[in-house]
Symmetry: C2
Subunit: 313 residues, 2 copies
C-alpha cells in the first residue's frame, strides 16, 4: 500500500504533517510506503532537521500551496503544482492508493469531484464523522457539512454509503441505519426527512431501523446515522463543544476522551473513484499519524470498489 | 397573579403536579394564586392525602384527560371538559394570567392556536429552550420542535420573539441574536439559512450578530440562537443526551448540572395572545414547582403585550 500525505496542508504544515508521518512510519508495517507530497527541498531540509532517515519515505515534489482560506475550486484548477493537485494526480494514475490531507477541505472536495470524479450513480459524495459510543462501538454520522441541502434520494444514498463504510472500514457485520429525525414515528419530521423515511422504509440496499432522535446519537441504536449536512455539521460541532467544555472544566473520563478528533485523524470522502481522507485543519502530529493509520484501513477496505458494485444496477 | 396548573398533564399526573404545586406554594409570594385544574374530587382527595390546606389553592373542575399519546388537535377540540381545554378557556377569559401544563405538547399547541390564537402578524408561534452558559448566563435557542420546516421570514420573526423573551424574561438588556449555521461567513449555509441571513443582516427589529456555529451554542457569543425546529430539536436532544451520559458516568459538575431540565421546568409559547407554559412530559415535582416559578416570571413580563407592540406596524 502506498499512502500519499499532503505535507503542505493544515494550519501547522509542514512540521505537524512531517512529525505525524515520522510517528506513523514507526507504527505502520514496513511494506506500507508513505509518499510525502510537498516542496522537495523543504521536505529534505526538514527530514535532516528531525534527523530522520529520508530513505524511509518517497518524496514527490509539489512546490505550490493551496492556502486554508483560498477559494477551493479555483485554487484547485489553477495551482497544478500544489500538493493537493499533485496528490490527486498521483491517486488517479494509481501511483498512490490513498491520498490524505489536513489542508483546505473545499479544495480536497474539488479534487474529489473534478479529478477522480464521483462514482457513477452517486448523486452527491459525502463525508461522515465517527461518534464514539459508551459501549466501545463507533457510530458513523453523515453528511457532516459537504451537502447542506439534501433531497430525499440523496439521504437514501447516504444510507448506502454509510452502511458500506461501517461494514468494510469499521467492521460492523450488518450496520443498522437510522434516519436522524425529531420523533421516532414514521410521520414525524420535516418535509425532507418524511420523504426520506418513505424511500428508506422498504430498502433492500441497507438495514433501515427507522427514525432516531438527537438523544440516540451516542447510543447503540444505530450504527449509521443519516442526515443532511446542515444538521450533521451542527451535531458534530455541538459534540466538539461539549468535549471542549469538559476539558476546560478539568473533567477526564475514558469515554469522553474518545471524543478527541485526534484519535480518528480524518474522514473518508464516500462515493468517489478513489480513497481520499480529509483531516481537520488544526491537526497536530498525533492527528496526522492517526489519519495515516485510518488511510491504510480505508485503502485496505477497497471501499470505492464496494460502492461501485452497490451502485451498479 | 393567578397561575393555572394542569393537574392531569404529564406522565406522573396528578401526583407529581400536585406535589409540585405544594412545593411552589411554600416558595411563591402569598398574593400569587395557584389555580389547580383537574378532576375536583380527585384533587380534594389528594390534598387530604398530603395533609395540605386546601384553602391555599383555587380548584377548577375539569374531569376529562387528554392522554399523552392522543391526536392533539382532535382531542383538544372534542374534550371540552379536559384540563387543557378548560385551562385555555380560563386563560382566554382572563380568569388566570398564565396556564402551565406538562401534558400533551401538541394539545397545548392546539389550544394556543385555536383558543387564544397567534398574535396578529406572527406567522408561526414558537417554543424555545434555555441553554446554560459556563459564565452563568442563559442562551435561548428557538425553535426546538414546533416548526420543523421554516421559511426565512419565519426565522426572522423568531429573532424578534427570542429577543423579546431574552430581554423581558431573562433580563438581558440588549440581546444578541445569532443565526445557527454551518459557517460564520455570510455566504455559508443551506438555502433557508442564507435567505434568513439576508433578511436579518440589516434588521432594526433586533440586534443581529451574524451566523453562529454548533460550537457556539454554549458560549457567550449570542443570547438568542435562531434555527428551524428540526435543527433545534436535534440540538436540544443531543444536549440532553450529553447530560444523561455525564450522570450515567457519575460526573458531577456545577455547570453541567444546570443542564437538568428540572431547573427550568417549562418553556413559554412565544407569539400567542396569552401566557402559556409547556413542561416536559416526564416532569416530577421539582420540575412542576420550577415550571410554576417560571410561569410567574413570564406572567409578570407581559410578554404577549410586548410582542403585540413589536408586530404592530
Amino acid at each position: 500500500m502506498r499512502l500519499g500525505l499532503d505535507l503542505s496542508g493544515g494550519d501547522f504544515a509542514p512540521r505537524a504533517a512531517l512529525e505525524g508521518a515520522l510517528a506513523a512510519r514507526c507504527e505502520l508495517p514496513d511494506d506500507v510506503e508513505i509518499v510525502l507530497i510537498g516542496d522537495a527541498s523543504t521536505t529534505r531540509n526538514l527530514l535532516v532537521d528531525y534527523g530522520a532517515d529520508s530513505t524511509q519515505f518517497s518524496l514527490v515534489h509539489a512546490p505550490e500551496i493551496i492556502g486554508m482560506d483560498e477559494q477551493p475550486a479555483r485554487a484547485f484548477k489553477l495551482k497544478h503544482q500544489s500538493s493537493i493537485h499533485v496528490g490527486f494526480a498521483l491517486l488517479k494514475s494509481g501511483q498512490i492508493d490513498v491520498f490524505a490531507s489536513a489542508g483546505n477541505t473545499g479544495a480536497m472536495m474539488a479534487g474529489s469531484m473534478l479529478s477522480i470524479h464521483p462514482i457513477e450513480g452517486v448523486i452527491r459524495p459525502s463525508i461522515g464523522t465517527c461518534i464514539p459510543r459508551p459501549d466501545g462501538g463507533i457510530n458513523l454520522i453523515l453528511d457532516v457539512g459537504i451537502n447542506s441541502d439534501c433531497k430525499a434520494d440523496v439521504l437514501y444514498q447516504f444510507g448506502i454509503l454509510g452502511s458500506l463504510y461501517s461494514q468494510h472500514v469499521l467492521n460492523v457485520a450488518r450496520p443498522r441505519v437510522g434516519l436522524l429525525n425529531i420523533g421516532e414515528e414514521e410521520e414525524k419530521g420535516n418535509l425532507i426527512s418524511k420523504a426520506a423515511h418513505e424511500l428508506m422504509k422498504d430498502s433492500s440496499d441497507f438495514h433501515f431501523i427507522g427514525n432516531i432522535e438527537g438523544r440516540d446519537i451516542f447510543t447503540d441504536k444505530a450504527d449509521v446515522i443519516v442526515c443532511d449536512g446542515f444538521t450533521g455539521n451542527v451535531v458534530l460541532k455541538e459534540a466538539e463543544a461539549f468535549y471542549t467544555l469538559l476539558k476546560s472544566r478539568g473533567i477526564n473520563d475514558d469515554y469522553f476522551d474518545r471524543f478527541n478528533y485526534e484519535l480518528y485523524g480524518g474522514t473518508a470522502v464516500l462515493g468517489v473513484n478513489g480513497n481520499v481522507i480529509i483531516g481537520h485543519g488544526i491537526s497536530g502530529p498525533t492527528a496526522i499519524k492517526n489519519m495515516l493509520r485510518h488511510a491504510l484501513e480505508v485503502a485496505k477496505s477497497s471501499l470505492p470498489e464496494k460502492i461501485k458494485k452497490a451502485f451498479t444496477v
